[in-house]
Symmetry: C2
Subunit: 299 residues, 2 copies
């Protein structure tokens, strides 16, 4: 069995690493802060002192980090993955970052004889814990196939979408649809509520037809409970739409509504709501309408 390295043990990375241990992968882990390393060590992982050390003792290195500069630093920086990785190894970056950065990193690794897959995920902390993540993979077919068992230990809807970088493009598309459907459901709920319809009945009436979507079925009930615990944080979705817009600029694709919703997530951060769940986009609409959508009081 391949030796796997895992760098980045945050909200997503830690449960993913645990799922690999459950499948009995020989795992070496590293993280900027110490506590999650200790926790994984207790479960049987080997602790490393740097990204370089992880790379030195692994055949496949997985990174799960917040943003493009983090991945660039961890892979290409001093004491980074590229300084320790062996020819014929594989780097799987499961972070959500820019496809342009992805291609740049992949180019460096190619010169070292190392293959790269970009494999961003969707499904949040819950999906990471339950190993039900959607995984969008870019890279060579034979490398994808070599890593498929690892992906199957982490997720369910695993789609090889194209060459390296294309996983990140698909993830950008995913984040556009999620953001815009949250905004759509937000506008619908505020309108219906302030016009006098019980919001639970709005959800019920709309779920049966062409308006059905994850935002309505999974997030709207939390909104009625005023539960904005993430889930997925505003500031991360703001970052992801920034990636989508940069990708649009790179490939010549104007994205009019995405750019506005990106601004709205920015406004939420300015308002001090960056660490709330992304469904809190509805609070901006509530501010405009001077109302707050809540469950109807029992009569």
């Amino acid at each position: 069995m391949k030796r796997v390295g895992f760098i980045g043990l945050g909200i997503m990375g830690k449960p993913m690493a645990k799922n690999l241990l459950k499948k009995e992968y020989q795992l070496t882990v590293y993280n900027r802060s110490r506590p999650p390393i200790v926790e994984l060590e207790r479960l049987g992982a080997r602790a490393a002192n740097s990204s370089r050390e992880v790379a030195e003792s692994s055949d496949i290195v997985i990174t799960m980090l917040p943003d493009s500069p983090d991945v660039e630093q961890v892979v290409l920086g001093s004491n980074g993955v590229s300084s320790g990785i062996k020819t014929d190894s594989i780097l799987i970056d499961m972070s959500t970052i820019s496809p342009i950065t992805t291609k740049k990193i992949a180019g460096h690794l190619t010169s070292l004889g190392v293959d790269m897959l970009d494999a961003p995920v969707s499904g949040g902390e819950k999906g990471a814990i339950e190993a039900t993540l959607s995984i969008m993979v870019g890279g060579k077919t034979e490398v994808f196939e070599e890593c498929l068992e690892i992906f199957q230990a982490l997720g369910k809807n695993i789609v090889h979408v194209g060459d390296v970088g294309m996983g990140q493009v698909a993830k950008a598309c995913n984040q556009i649809v999620v953001a815009l459907t949250l905004e759509a459901v937000g506008e619908a709920l505020v309108l219906g509520y302030k016009a006098g319809v019980d919001p639970e009945l709005i959800i019920k009436a709309l779920s049966g037809g062409a308006a059905r979507c994850w935002a309505l079925e999974v997030r709207a009930p939390n909104v009625l409970d005023r539960n904005f615990k993430p889930g997925f944080k505003v500031r991360l979705h703001h970052k992801d739409l920034g990636i989508a817009l940069a990708t649009g600029k790179e490939f010549g694709v104007p994205l009019p509504i995405t750019s506005l919703v990106h601004e709205m997530f920015g406004a939420l951060r300015v308002a001090g709501r960056g660490d709330l769940d992304h469904s809190s986009i509805i609070t901006l609409l509530e501010d405009l309408a001077k109302t707050e959508v809540r469950k109807k009081a029992p009569t």
Copy 2:
């Protein structure tokens, strides 16, 4: 069994009237043009020469018309429903119109001792034919219950959402979510396609997670076939978002993204695409990006 009248035998009304005949309702029908009346007559309906005549021979009158002025004219105009309807009858308006117009008409009917339900539908021609419409009903509970069997002959997800007018409010909410998810899927498909991802793989990758929605699962495959046969026409969705915005104005609910997508549907009409399916909103994005999303050629 109650005698039912049906006014408005268009794309939606005609199959709905047929479904009532199948359930053996004694049906009197009227329509501005003659051919659908003749067709329904052959199936056992009684033909009337005016909306007034329909009202004179029915206990429950159903209207299914294009827009607010049509319903106002047919119900309150000369030779209209209100000139022939008897005390204790019921008007069910299943058109999608303004909740403000609905309340005005209901007020007039109350003075005649007639109850009104607003019961707009979602599900399109297919839902009308297969009797699987979603129906959002506003009006008194006892009147709703009296008419429930009729609704069950026409649809599946039948929700009583509140007092008269609230059915139209719920429908406005529905049309907001449908329009904005179509735009969301449009921006995602154009970005992903032009950046180099096979669009069928975008649909597959996004359908498994938080981006899942009707627009992606039902409409996006038609887009890849460049099939913009309605379905639901751009000009009707444009009208419906106009109703949503007017409702927002009435109740003090700013709808920033709905207003922009309303403008986009307006732009489609200017471009001569008003009779295409509403999923053709993607063509505006394609115009901007100078591309056209198509299935990848088989390799």
